[in-house]
């Protein structure tokens, strides 16, 4: 029950999706529709599970007075605040002017945006400390990065304004993106695709079972 049933489920569901690609007709199309619908519901439950798990972990932290338990109270309080406003708001909870929208606008947006924006400082600092032209490959990488940083913003063309049109920094940057960059991306893409296909096959055929964990 603990290993055989999951392996069977994985195999059947995987095979249905593969077969329905080639035979998009009844009964495979119908089964694929069911599975897609179920996937949406299970995915939503997985997300809710994550949130509930966070509450459990935070609750345990408070109960055991672990270091930083005060912050765990903040996590639970803000979670409840957002949830209550959202659930009480009905189906139009996202409308402009609702409490949920207010919290989204004045807490979620600034926090989420700033969390990522702070990386700009670290990218600059790390580049200064570690980005070195140690060998030919690294120099190539550096040169491509410089060209992109200058060529994709207006200042690149200001620097190369003496060049004829079609040979300015922006043209060079676009050429690199369209040709050598695309070539490298394709090599990586095809490599990943081949790896993914073999892993998927191993999963569907039950050879790869690590996702089931121990026991």
């Amino acid at each position: 029950m603990r290993r055989e049933v999951p392996l069977l489920i994985t195999g059947i569901v995987g095979i249905v999706f593969v077969v329905s690609y080639f035979i998009p007709h009844y009964p495979f199309s119908e089964m694929e529709h069911w599975f897609s619908d179920w996937f949406a519901i299970v995915a939503a439950c997985a997300i809710v599970l994550g949130a509930l798990n966070l509450m459990v972990v935070s609750g345990q932290k408070i109960a055991r007075r672990k270091e930083g338990w005060g912050y765990a109270i903040v996590i639970i309080a803000t979670f409840l605040l957002m949830t209550i406003f959202g659930l009480a708001g009905g189906t139009g909870f996202r409308e402009t002017g609702t409490g949920f929208d207010w919290l989204y606008k004045y807490t979620f947006i600034p926090l989420s945006a700033t969390m990522y924006a702070i990386l700009a400082f670290f990218v600059a600092s790390a580049s200064y400390r570690a980005f070195r032209a140690r060998n030919a490959e690294a120099t190539l990488l550096l040169a491509a990065a410089f060209l992109m940083m200058l060529g994709r913003v207006p200042v690149g063309d200001v620097i190369t304004c003496f060049m004829p049109e079609g040979a300015r920094m922006s043209d060079l940057a676009i050429w690199i993106m369209n040709f050598p960059q695309t070539a490298g991306q394709r090599a990586i893409m095809i490599g990943i695709a081949l790896g993914l296909v073999s892993t998927s096959l191993r999963i569907i055929l039950g050879v790869e079972r690590s996702y089931l964990g121990g026991e």
Binding site: S29, E32, H33, F35, S36, D37, F39, A40, I41, A43, A44, I47, G90, T91, G92, R94, E95, T96, D101, Y104, F108, I109, S112, A113, M115, Y116, A117, A120, F121, V123, A124, S125, S127, Y128, R129, A130, F131, R132, A133, R134, L142, F146, M149, L150, R152, V153, P154, V155, D157, V158, R168, S170, I174, M177, N178, Q181, T182, Q185, R186, M189
Partner: protein
């Protein structure tokens, strides 16, 4: 103890300055500041001179710490927002292609827009959404909006409010349910796209307000991708453009263009070259290009000067770092 006191004093000072500036804003003491072109150029020269000074110090084996780098990044981003220097934005073929595609669509054509991003990527992607929505409203193209990221539909609402205000439109000019609908979010990532291939209604039983699908005149007769004339995906990662290409384009034949964060844009170029994508707006510069094409200049255009400046500062520090590296006989990294 002394350090703590200094820290508290700095915080108090910042708070006081902020209160003064804020009160100035609401009581009309100031209407914001802008440097004249000559002052802007003087500031630029000063920044470059200080960079050269850092380079000279580096040559003398006096290296700067990471907080100095942070400071420079902050300055490079902030000061250009006050400057008045005009920059020429060059239109790339991949952005032009999106505009051309919109130009070819007949008024009344249905355009599916999926906003697959969150506020973290909004500075890059929101201008794209605003300009795209604005251009669709101008051309009377009907928008069907959705999101594979939960925040997408809310970002769409904000973009629509902003662009309508900018274009002087109100809810009688652009009618919800007839000119555009927001179907909201649905969990399931690429499986949502897969299911939409056979039925939109199966995935989006209601719009984001809870109105049943069949009660929305715009989508009542939209069953699947075959009823869509063009689509545009604004994406910051997974699920996003890659999944739309793999399923909606390659399986169901949808015509798709994309707007991506700059981080993601290079990874979708192969799709562009293979014709799987009609066009691409990559990062804020892509957004600025589209704003220029549509004559709906907004944040992306305004931000381009800061963007240029910040790139130059990063390049400057990489050069300084490399100078130190070569001076030390290519042996070590930097020590503060």
């Amino acid at each position: 103890m002394k350090t703590r006191m200094v820290e508290i004093l700095v915080v108090i000072l910042i708070a006081v300055l902020a209160v003064v500036a804020y009160l100035g804003k609401i009581w009309g003491w100031h209407e914001g500041f802008v440097f004249s072109t000559s002052v802007s150029l003087a500031v630029v020269i000063l920044i470059f001179a200080s960079l050269i000074w850092i380079l000279v110090r580096t040559l003398m084996d006096k290296l700067v710490g990471r907080r100095i780098v942070f400071l420079y990044v902050g300055i490079a981003i902030t000061l250009p927002l006050f400057m008045s220097i005009e920059q020429e934005i060059v239109i790339s073929d991949e952005v032009q292609a999106i505009y051309d595609e919109l130009e070819q669509l007949q008024p009344g054509s249905k355009v599916l827009v999926s906003l697959d991003y969150d506020p973290a990527s909004a500075p890059e992607l929101q201008p794209m959404a605003e300009a795209f929505f604005g251009e669709c409203f101008k051309r009377d193209l009907k928008l069907i909006i959705m999101g594979l990221w939960p925040m997408g539909p809310q970002q769409a609402n904000q973009a629509i409010d902003t662009i309508m205000a900018r274009m002087g439109l109100d809810s009688t000019d652009v009618i919800y349910g007839e000119d555009y609908v927001n179907l909201g979010f649905q969990a399931g990532n690429e499986f949502v796209i897969q299911r939409m291939g056979s039925s939109f209604e199966a995935m989006f039983g209601t719009d984001y307000r809870g109105t049943p699908y069949q009660d929305l005149p715009l989508v009542r007769n939209v069953n699947n991708f075959s009823n869509i004339d063009f689509s545009y995906n604004i994406s910051a990662g997974f699920p996003g453009t890659v999944e739309w290409v793999q399923i909606a384009v390659d399986r169901f034949g949808l015509r798709l263009a994309a707007g991506n964060t700059a981080v993601q844009a290079p990874t979708v170029y192969p799709y562009l070259r293979a014709g799987q994508l009609v066009g691409l707006m990559g990062g804020m510069s892509g957004g600025a290009e589209f704003e220029k094409l549509t004559h709906l200049e907004g944040k992306a255009t305004t931000y381009m000067l800061s963007q240029s400046f910040s790139h130059i500062i990063v390049i400057g520090f990489i050069i300084i770092g490399n100078v130190a590296f070569f001076r030390s006989g290519r042996k070590s990294g930097l020590k503060e």
